[in-house]
């Protein structure tokens, strides 16, 4: 069985990785640079089964400050990691977690409010789910070990059988 990517496959996977990284990084930087941005309103108007939880978060000042900080820095760090292909594995994992929160705040279950907020027409599947699915694909087909800084870690003489290492890095598919 041939486990190696072709050059075209690597380029495609890298483009997808960089595109998602771009999206995360830009969103994070935008929120960081626009003073006064807060997730309160987004959470306050959330719909769906988890809405009471999100709304209760939105009503606590300390909770909102923590959520804002985690969201902004989460977006920036995940974006950078995907861009650079550095610590790609945890970045994809946390990216999926973050996107799942966005999805669950406005789940498109034939609910007008959700579509109203996101400015499109969705049923069950929305853009968040597509991005989550893309990250799941990238989880299975990593590219950072070829076209990212992870390559230098993988090629280095670091011991690769520890659990910590396995949590943070993919294996190179050769």
């Amino acid at each position: 069985m041939n486990n190696q990517y072709s050059n075209k496959q690597i380029i495609a996977l890298t483009l997808l990785r960089v595109a998602i990284g771009w999206h995360f990084l830009y969103e994070g930087l935008f929120k960081y640079l626009s003073s006064g941005w807060s997730s309160a309103s987004f959470l306050l108007h959330s719909t769906g089964p988890l809405a009471p939880l999100f709304k209760s978060w939105a009503q606590s000042q300390t909770m909102i400050e923590n959520i804002d900080a985690l969201n902004i820095w989460g977006l920036i760090l995940i974006g950078l990691a995907l861009f650079l292909g550095f610590f790609e594995k945890p970045a994809k994992f946390f990216g999926i977690v973050l996107l799942s929160f966005y999805y669950l705040a406005y789940p498109p279950f034939s609910n007008l409010a959700a579509n109203f907020h996101t400015g499109g027409n969705y049923w069950i599947i929305d853009r968040n789910i597509i991005e989550i699915a893309s990250l799941v694909v990238l989880m299975m087909f990593s590219s950072g070990t070829y076209t990212g800084l992870d390559r230098f870690v993988v090629d280095s003489k670091i011991k690769k059988d520890s659990i910590i290492y396995k949590l943070f890095f993919h294996r190179k598919k050769i």
Partner: protein
């Protein structure tokens, strides 16, 4: 080979470089475009009313107020509930529906006002008995000792109650036609009064009541609990700050689409009503004589002899909200038209479709009311201004006018609100299920959000009255607001009945037909 490895590893770096130069530039450009802060421009980024705190408690063991309830029907029982008195059946219902654990803390969150219900008066024995059971079951404090309970009395007529020394104040929640007379007699007896809306059934009684209250010195509050609703207070502040520009038109609506909403009501014990359990003469009061009629008694809202129709039941709320926001007062003239097309046609005389136009030349505006009992579509009150339009109920939405010069830099177009107030008050604390109740809550007559808490607006309104009796603060819906409400709605009903324009002479306080 090494060199190739290195280049591959950093291959995404150039894209990141390009990104970092372009991205920050773009962010600052977008932010600059957004810089016109609509709220700042409106000077509505800070509000006085939103930072309002709950008024301090005024009650203690020494200054207890003894209240008599006149009229323990649907609304009378609701008022007892707002004071913390619940019929045991209600408490059991909360328990069987597994709502008790949530309901009791919500009740206890409301201040103990140190009031006792010491008298119940109703023309229907079953209602009285139920009222007594509720009065004996205070869920906010432990007052259910035999000595205290023995002081709670049933009165056969309201006059007996007014003659009693065991009563300091009365809550009146009787059919509309009796409001005025009972309140006049109560004021003369020196009892403080909380009177349900609409204040009066005729303009003549309203004039007499206003005079009596003015002479009496009792604390008088009309039961328009919307006065406590944050959105209407905020609406008033926005209007005062001139956010809307010139207001030329106000549109008000009420809609219902159920027999219950059309006041065709059967409660489980109504069939116990007969000539021996109902004090028919006391019920009729000053109304024209009619032989005992079960339907007239239980569905009194459907008869102009006793009720005020959609105008008195539904529009009076909406009118008072508008009056609270804009202070429109009494219109110079009113023209109304309606029809009795759908419910009990030929049996009673309530219009089920009603339109009215109210003319306010001194304010340079007109107000319309469209009401139907045959469509449940929900419509908020709309206040149309030259710069912006306000949609108001429990929430507020502001839309800029397409031709507004003042708001031309605001990014939102006229289809999307550029400002909204939507408090996150959960309305299902009391297991509200019927459509009528939902509209009631949405329209802002249920709970409100104040001081970081969700509080029943009717409770706040009662508290304001109780505090004022103790000399703290003033009532927000006193005799003047009540008078404006009563005259306005009576003018609309007169116009409907006479099919003529009704005019109001504000100097001589007289109306004329045609």
């Amino acid at each position: 080979m090494k060199r190739r490895n290195f280049i591959m590893g950093i291959s995404s770096m150039p894209i990141l470089g390009a990104f970092s130069i372009g991205a920050t530039k773009n962010i600052y450009k977008v932010l600059n475009d957004k810089k016109v802060d609509s709220k700042e421009q409106l000077s509505i980024n800070q509000f006085d009313v939103i930072s309002e705190r709950l008024p301090k408690p005024t009650g203690n063991e020494q200054n207890r107020i003894r209240i008599g309830l006149i009229g323990h029907g649907w609304r009378g029982e609701g008022l007892l509930n707002s004071l913390g008195f619940f019929h045991p059946d209600y408490v059991n219902k909360m328990k069987t529906e597994k709502l008790y654990e949530r309901w009791l803390p919500y009740q206890r969150r409301h201040e103990n006002l140190f009031v006792d219900i010491t008298g119940i008066c109703d023309t229907f024995d079953i209602h009285s008995a139920r009222g007594l059971d509720a009065a004996k079951n205070n869920v906010r404090e432990d007052r259910n000792t035999p000595e205290i309970l023995s002081k709670i009395k049933q009165y056969r007529t309201y006059k007996d109650m007014l003659n009693s020394d065991n009563i300091d104040a009365v809550i009146i929640a009787t059919p509309d036609h009796s409001h005025g007379q009972i309140a006049i007699d109560a004021a003369k007896a020196g009892k403080h009064i909380y009177l349900e809306k609409p204040m009066c059934h005729t303009i003549e009684t309203a004039i007499e009541l206003k005079k009596t209250i003015g002479d009496s010195g009792v604390v008088f509050q009309i039961g328009h609990e919307n006065r406590q609703q944050m959105s209407y207070k905020l609406g008033n502040e926005l209007y005062q700050k001139g956010v809307l520009g010139d207001v030329s038109m106000i549109q008000t609506f009420t809609n219902r689409n159920t027999p219950f909403g059309a006041w065709i009501r059967e409660r489980q014990f109504d069939n116990l009503g007969n000539e021996s359990t109902i004090n028919w003469k006391e019920f009729l009061g000053n109304a024209p004589w009619h032989n005992f009629d079960h339907k007239r008694y239980f569905n009194w809202q459907r008869y102009n002899d006793y009720g005020t129709g959609m105008i008195g039941n539904d529009f009076s709320h909406t009118y008072d909200c508008v009056n609270q926001v804009l202070g429109v007062g009494i219109p110079e003239s009113v023209v109304a038209m309606g029809g009795h097309f759908y419910y009990n046609v030929g049996k009673d005389d309530l219009a089920d479709v009603f339109n009215a136009v109210f003319y306010f030349p001194d304010k340079s505006l007109t107000m319309s009311y469209d009401g139907t009992l045959k469509s449940g579509i929900y419509r908020q009150t709309r206040i149309l201004g030259s710069e912006a339009t306000m949609e108001i109920d429990r929430a507020i939405m502001l839309y800029k006018d397409t031709y507004s010069k003042r708001y031309k830099d605001i990014a939102e177009d006229s289809d999307n609100p550029f400002y909204y107030y939507a408090p996150n008050a959960r309305v299902d604390v009391d297991a509200v299920t019927s459509a009528t109740s939902k509209n009631y809550f949405k329209s802002g007559y249920g709970p409100t959000y104040i001081d970081g808490k969700i509080i029943d607006a009717t409770f706040l309104h009662l508290k304001e009255w109780v505090d004022a009796i103790r000399g703290q603060g003033k009532v927000s819906c006193g005799i003047d607001a009540g008078f404006e409400e009563a005259v306005t709605l009576c003018m609309a009903n007169l116009s409907y009945l006479h099919k003529k324009t009704i005019s109001w002479d504000k100097v001589n306080e007289q109306y004329s037909i045609g």
